[in-house]
């Protein structure tokens, strides 16, 4: 069993660390700073923290003004508000003029749990990646979150980072290592966590640890599954994906997001234009879902490692 940690805690800590060295970082929140952990930055740097109250649209456009004055604004709230509630503001004030704003949203997906569908966000990847100039990152755990937040500062332009509410199993070793090896978080990159010849599991966020579990379960049945942590949805790692498709001839995508327009869709876009192979998409099957505990929901809505195992077997059967 892996240890667990909050990705939003990692965000809160990293923000402070970055805030110490990069004086141009400012942080904006919309009355959710206790939940998003930006309140920690606010306590450390009160002058550089702005709480806009429950007014996401205003916050988003204000970030544009701060960015065009040389600041690096981090804008945080829950994913459903960070994206859909201020979408037109993000589009026109920020993405269109390619301003240096980082949006870090917590409480994505259905693992939000008891608050229910009004507070889930199963569409943010789809809607953010639909806009030009937009980088979309989905870290898999707390360690990768730190790496993603840091990488976002070194990249000029709008970046959307998708985090979760609950603690997630920690996959990477401290300092962003995998099995001892130091990794580099690269916008447009990915991590191949496991090699395998029969099928490739392409996962993001909370589903990465589940994909690893699925790969182990498959291995016990003699099926060798490669596992890719696709932390960068846009830009997307075309090279690694096409190579994986070529080698394994079958892909399963795993995302805590609607299967319409999300990670599966982004991967499919690449493969049909390069190496069209059979795919199965594990994700939320176009439903708003309901309130419940995280585990109840992930099980009922088909996001367990068992669901991945079954999808892998289905897709392998479809290989030509």
């Amino acid at each position: 069993m892996r240890e667990k940690a909050y990705t939003r805690d990692a965000y809160g800590r990293t923000l402070i660390e970055l805030g110490r060295i990069r004086k141009e970082i400012v942080v904006l929140d919309a009355d959710l700073s206790t939940s998003t952990r930006t309140a920690w930055f606010g306590r450390e740097f009160p002058d550089r923290f702005f709480n806009f109250g429950v007014a996401e649209a205003n916050m988003m456009s204000a970030a544009a003004g701060l960015a065009s004055s040389g600041k690096i604004p981090f804008v945080s709230t829950f994913a459903v508000f960070a994206t859909g509630r201020a979408y037109n503001q993000y589009r026109t004030s920020i993405a269109y003029p390619n301003l240096n704003v980082k949006i870090v949203a917590t409480h994505s997906g259905i693992s939000v749990g008891e608050d229910g569908p009004t507070h889930f966000c199963i569409e943010d990847i789809a809607i953010m990646r639909a806009l030009p100039n937009t980088t979309v990152l989905v870290p898999a755990d707390a360690v990768e979150t730190e790496a993603a937040v840091k990488a976002s500062v070194d990249h000029y332009g709008p970046v959307y980072i998708r985090l979760s509410r609950p603690k997630l199993p920690v996959i990477y070793e401290e300092g962003y290592r995998w099995r001892g090896e130091k990794l580099t978080f690269r916008i447009g990159g990915s991590v191949t966590l496991r090699e395998g010849e029969d099928v490739t599991l392409v996962a993001s966020g909370l589903m990465v640890s589940r994909a690893l579990d699925a790969a182990e379960a498959l291995a016990r049945e003699g099926i060798e599954a490669a596992v890719i942590d696709l932390y960068s949805i846009k830009p997307i790692d075309r090279e690694t994906l096409t190579e994986a498709a070529r080698r394994t001839g079958a892909i399963v995508t795993c995302e805590e997001h609607n299967v319409c327009g999300g990670v599966g869709s982004a991967v499919a876009e690449v493969l049909v234009e390069t190496v069209p192979v059979p795919m199965e998409m594990v994700g939320v099957k176009d439903t708003f879902a309901e309130s419940g505990s995280m585990e109840d929901l992930l099980t009922k809505y088909g996001l367990t490692s068992k669901d991945i195992v079954e999808a892998a077997k289905r897709v392998i059967k479809r290989k030509s």
Binding site: D29, D31, L32, S33, T34, S35, A39, N51, F52, G53, V54, A55, A57, N58, V80, F81, R85, G113, E114, D115, G116, P117, T118, H119, E290, S291, G292, S293, D296, L297, K300
Partner: protein
């Protein structure tokens, strides 16, 4: 005699609060509406206060049972919700889709525990459902879901949308020549949302006098005091400048609540806003005015203590 006295007391009360409501009340007294309709019996008030207590108990029990939820803003809204569902609203729990019913929208959807308690205690569904709040398969979602819960009029939980939804209902009433009324409860933090002011502007532009907005002015939002996070004052002037007849009351004084709701019915040609001064966590000493109970359920131990405080003392 007793009525007159209580009336005088009410007036004094309003004056003491200094909320400019007395003048209005006087006007009413001068003939616009019969006393009986405007002023309410001690028996009624006592009955409602007792029910409000019950709803508060329900709120705390169901959220603790669920292990999550928003008790603070449920308690601040409890007296108003009680006045609406157990006296003021024209509705029929046996026929939730009755066309002529008044509509209530809880725009501050996170406070649904108190709405669910009211609906259950009214008879929309069995009280036992309350204990399945937020569990998978339950009819009681973490935020109001109009498809799953009988009596819930709108799906809310993303703040700022309820007043707009209410405008749609009020326009429909006018179009259909129906005299039902629409009530929308908003949080004070929720008023930060520009959509609320879009709706405020539109409701007065459309001259909707069949809609009443009730602001649960408990002075707290999620991150702290509204005064610190995003100050709202002068709030009544804002609503007035947006064309609303505006009344300020003590949102825990049942008589003032009932009077204000009646008053709103009488206003012609414009919508009415009731700014209800409330206390978040009202009724439980250690919850009152404490931001940490915005979105956290009580522990079993805290619940026990709270329920001890929430006893009927007449």
């Amino acid at each position: 005699m007793k009525t007159v006295l209580s009336l005088e007391l009410s007036l004094i009360n309003y004056s003491v609060k200094g909320l400019g409501y007395g003048a209005n009340l006087l006007m009413v007294r001068l003939g616009c509406k019969g006393e009986g309709e405007v002023f309410h019996s001690d028996e009624l008030v006592a009955r409602l206060r007792r029910i409000a207590l019950q709803l508060r108990r329900d709120v705390l029990k169901m959220t603790t049972k669920a292990g999550s939820g928003h008790p603070g803003g449920s308690l601040s809204a409890a007296d108003i919700i009680t006045a609406l569902y157990f006296h003021h609203l024209r509705h029929d729990p046996k026929n939730p889709k009755w066309e002529d019913r008044d509509r209530f929208i809880l725009s501050k959807g996170h406070s649904c525990p108190v709405l669910y308690a009211a609906l259950a205690r009214c008879g929309y569904f069995p009280v036992e459902e309350l204990w399945r709040l937020r569990k998978i398969g339950s009819m009681l979602q973490g935020h109001p879901d109009m498809l799953k819960t009988p009596g819930v009029e709108a799906s809310t939980g993303n703040l700022g949308q309820g007043l707009s939804i209410g405008i749609g209902m009020a326009l429909a009433a006018r179009l259909d020549g129906k005299d039902y009324r629409v009530y929308v409860m908003l949080g004070d933090g929720e008023l930060d949302e520009g959509q609320v002011w879009e709706a405020a502007m539109a409701a007065s532009h459309f001259r909707l006098n069949n809609i009443t907005a009730i602001v649960d002015y408990n002075g707290l939002q999620l991150d702290g005091f509204t005064e610190d996070i995003m100050s709202l004052e002068p709030l009544a002037e804002k609503w007035r400048a947006f064309g609303w007849h505006t009344i300020e009351i003590d949102g825990h004084n049942m008589r003032q609540i009932l009077d204000a709701l009646d008053m709103a019915v009488m206003v012609k040609g414009k919508p009415t806003a009731i700014i209800a001064h409330t206390v978040k966590g009202k009724g439980v000493s250690f919850m009152e005015n404490r931001v940490e109970f915005h979105g956290k359920a009580l522990t079993e131990e805290q619940l026990r203590k709270a329920l001890e405080e929430l006893r009927w003392e007449g």
